[in-house]
């Protein structure tokens, strides 16, 4: 079962403005039976103000196609034609609290029907420049036709190229086999052979070896970054010494002897490790412990 939002279900089960519109003066037909989606959008436009007074739809399609059609008619009613032309398929999807990636084409169809209807009203000819293929990348909803055209137009030859140009394959990476197949096919057209090489997910560059001074400065920077939070709780932290992997600090103010001290230090230690890219241990210095002993007799 698709993971449809409540809004999608609601617009599917009780579609708004479904059925023919008798006195429509703008009609847009898009889609085809082959792909299982077809939409007729009918508008009643006020010729003086170019405002959409009424809108209705007839849709042959799945739940999200019907919901997208319903949403579209609700969005554009009362809009001027120029304003309506600015409605994007993302607006339709947003209105429905999102659509599954496989179903985004339903919202695209809604937008195309709108363009077609407005072209029809203005006596223009609207041509569908959008061709859809099988969905390859489910993370970013990118289909085979788009990938193929991009590979062809830019002479791409690696999966990495495809990720960079189209985003396809940049998510969960489970579609890389499909992308490779497209590369094999398109590269064969231009007489090349696809040679696979593993895609390396770029890693954060590891910090090189720091000098003692650089290291201490970085530690100070990390401590400075947490200081405002500590000060908000009327505490503070100061660096006492660095001895190899051990960082001695002094917890002062309210932090000294706080029940949460161990937890706070653990959090800071984690931050330090992430920043320095090495294992370090943070230890409250003896001086701090002594001062604490003095203040809590």
């Amino acid at each position: 079962m698709w993971d449809y939002s409540e809004k999608v279900k609601e617009h599917f089960f009780s579609p708004r403005n479904a059925g023919a519109l008798d006195n429509a003066n703008a009609v847009g037909d898009v889609g085809s039976l082959n792909c299982g989606d077809a939409l007729r959008l009918m508008l009643k436009v006020d010729p003086d103000t170019e405002t959409i007074q009424d809108a209705s739809f007839q849709t042959f399609g799945c739940g999200s196609a019907i919901a997208s059609s319903s949403a579209l008619t609700e969005i554009i009613k009362g809009m001027t034609l120029d304003a309506a032309l600015k409605v994007s398929n993302q607006d339709i999807a947003d209105y429905l609290d999102g659509l599954p990636p496989e179903k985004m084409h339903c919202s695209v169809m809604g937008r195309e029907a709108l363009q077609a209807a407005i072209a029809n009203y203005r006596g223009e000819v609207w041509s569908d420049d959008h061709e859809e293929g099988a969905l390859i990348c489910k993370c970013f909803a990118i289909d085979a036709v788009l990938i193929e055209e991009t590979v062809r137009a830019n002479s791409l030859s690696t999966v990495e190229d495809v990720i960079n140009y189209t985003k396809a394959g940049g998510g969960c990476s489970s579609c890389h086999e499909g992308i490779e197949e497209i590369l094999v096919k398109v590269m064969a057209e231009r007489g090349e052979t696809f040679s696979p090489h593993t895609v390396e997910i770029p890693e954060e560059p590891k910090p090189g070896k720091l000098t003692n001074l650089q290291r201490i400065k970085r530690i100070e920077m990390v401590l400075d970054s947490v200081r405002p939070q500590l000060q908000r709780d009327h505490g503070d932290i100061e660096l006492v010494d660095v001895d190899g992997k051990t960082i001695y600090v002094n917890m002062t103010g309210a932090c000294a002897g706080c029940q949460m001290e161990a937890m706070t230090l653990q959090g800071i230690q984690q931050k330090l490790m992430e920043d320095l890219g090495e294992f370090v241990k943070i230890v409250p210095s003896r001086a701090g412990s002594l001062s604490r002993a003095a203040s809590h007799p």
Partner: protein
């Protein structure tokens, strides 16, 4: 009221007594059947019993012909890959356009590895041309794989006859009988079928258990190598609880075989006739006089299947569709397209699959609700009525399938 589940070709409810039979094998009977001690030994005996129960349902000659696997897909892959590995000189495979993706996608993959795959075509009812099949059989063919019953329409392929023909030509024959096992009587010992796949969850056993039947003497190469389980033909510690469950389910299916082919068939026929009598422009797909007793696949023209399913679901009725939208692809079911069902109807195909738990009241309810749903969606369809787009589909389209 509980939901009405008419999607038994997708999966079935695990029978309560199957669950009861399984439960001890999670706790007190947890032993590894390969172990020497009594913990393992009792489990080993339980597996032996289950193997006999499966053997009985399949009419296999020997219990050692039963290999437990993890699912129908594993059985299909094991069978086909074994056949080609055991016959490295033979570079052709014969299958059909109606196969389940478990076979089709494996075959398209093997094409990339240099195999020549012949996909037998079907007519508008999904029937094969056996003359064409006969012409393809040669000593170049490693294996034939054809399904016993189609998952979408329930229609049978003449697998017994096809197996005889393959055998005469010296070609191995495999059948994916996932939909057929438990619904129609099977007697493998009197057939020339070399390999057969079945899946537990289609006959009220749990998911995650399957069987590959391998006729004694057929050359075999395992898919999973490792331990000595299943006589070295399928390594990996046995899924003991599920195997015990499958054995129990096979015994129950055997006992219910008559009911399945009388009562379930009667309810299916009533459902189909009831809907077709009330809904215009609808027809049953497939080879309707030669199909599983539990399956009815109806094409409703000019509307889309996913929308039908969502509305049926609102009434608590579970069915499935060959529509593109339910699969995430943009193409409707390959089965419907292969049978030449026009797009106007293929997108609206809806499969009702019953089980021995389906009641008359449930069938009556579906007959009552479905026509309203179809009418409601057609009212919204631009292809319905006088207001269709310029390319009026009705003109180009005159169904001859009814």
């Amino acid at each position: 009221m509980e939901g009405i589940y008419l999607d038994n070709n997708a999966t079935t409810r695990v029978d309560d007594s199957v669950v009861a039979a399984m439960l001890p094998y999670f706790t007190e009977q947890f032993g590894n059947p390969s172990s020497m001690h009594s913990f393992g030994n009792k489990v080993g005996l339980a597996l032996k019993k289950a193997r006999l129960q499966v053997q009985e349902l399949l009419g296999a000659e020997h219990d050692s012909e039963i290999i437990f696997t993890s699912c129908g897909t594993e059985s299909d892959s094991t069978a086909i890959l074994s056949a080609i590995k055991a016959n490295p000189g033979k570079k052709e495979i014969i299958t059909t356009v109606l196969e389940h993706p478990a076979v089709l996608n494996l075959c398209t993959h093997l094409e990339k590895e240099g195999y020549k795959v012949h996909y037998l075509k079907v007519d508008e009812k999904g029937r094969l041309d056996l003359d064409a099949y006969s012409k393809l059989l040669s000593d170049k063919v490693a294996v034939v794989s054809a399904m016993w019953a189609n998952n979408e329409t329930g229609s049978f392929f003449p697998v017994l006859e096809m197996a005889e023909m393959a055998h005469a030509a010296g070609v191995l024959f495999h059948t994916d009988a996932v939909q057929a096992v438990g619904k129609v009587p099977i007697d493998l010992k009197s057939s020339k079928i070399d390999m057969l796949s079945l899946s537990g969850h289609k006959l009220h056993a749990p998911k995650g258990i399957g069987v590959l039947y391998l006729k004694r003497g057929v050359r075999f190469r395992p898919l999973l190598r490792g331990g000595h389980q299943e006589r070295g033909r399928r390594a990996g510690t046995e899924n003991t609880a599920s195997i015990v469950g499958l054995g129990m389910a096979c015994e129950m299916a055997q006992a219910a075989m008559h009911h399945e082919n009388t009562e379930v068939r009667r309810l299916r026929d009533k459902l189909e006739a009831g809907i077709l009598a009330k809904v215009p422009r609808a027809f049953a797909t497939g080879d309707v006089s030669n199909r599983l007793p539990n399956t009815s696949n109806i094409a409703f023209e000019f509307i889309e299947g996913e929308a039908i399913l969502l509305l049926l679901n609102k009434f608590g009725i579970a069915a499935s569709s060959g529509s593109a939208c339910t699969s995430g692809s943009l193409e409707p079911s390959h089965v419907m397209r292969a049978m030449g069902i026009p797009y106007t109807a293929a997108h609206g195909t809806t499969r009702f699959s019953l089980s021995r738990y389906t009641t008359e009241a449930e069938v009556d309810r579906v007959i009552e609700v479905t026509p309203e749903i179809i009418a409601q969606l057609r009212k919204m369809s631009p292809y319905w009525g006088e207001t269709g787009p310029a390319a009026e589909p009705e003109k180009a389209f005159a169904p001859v399938y009814a």
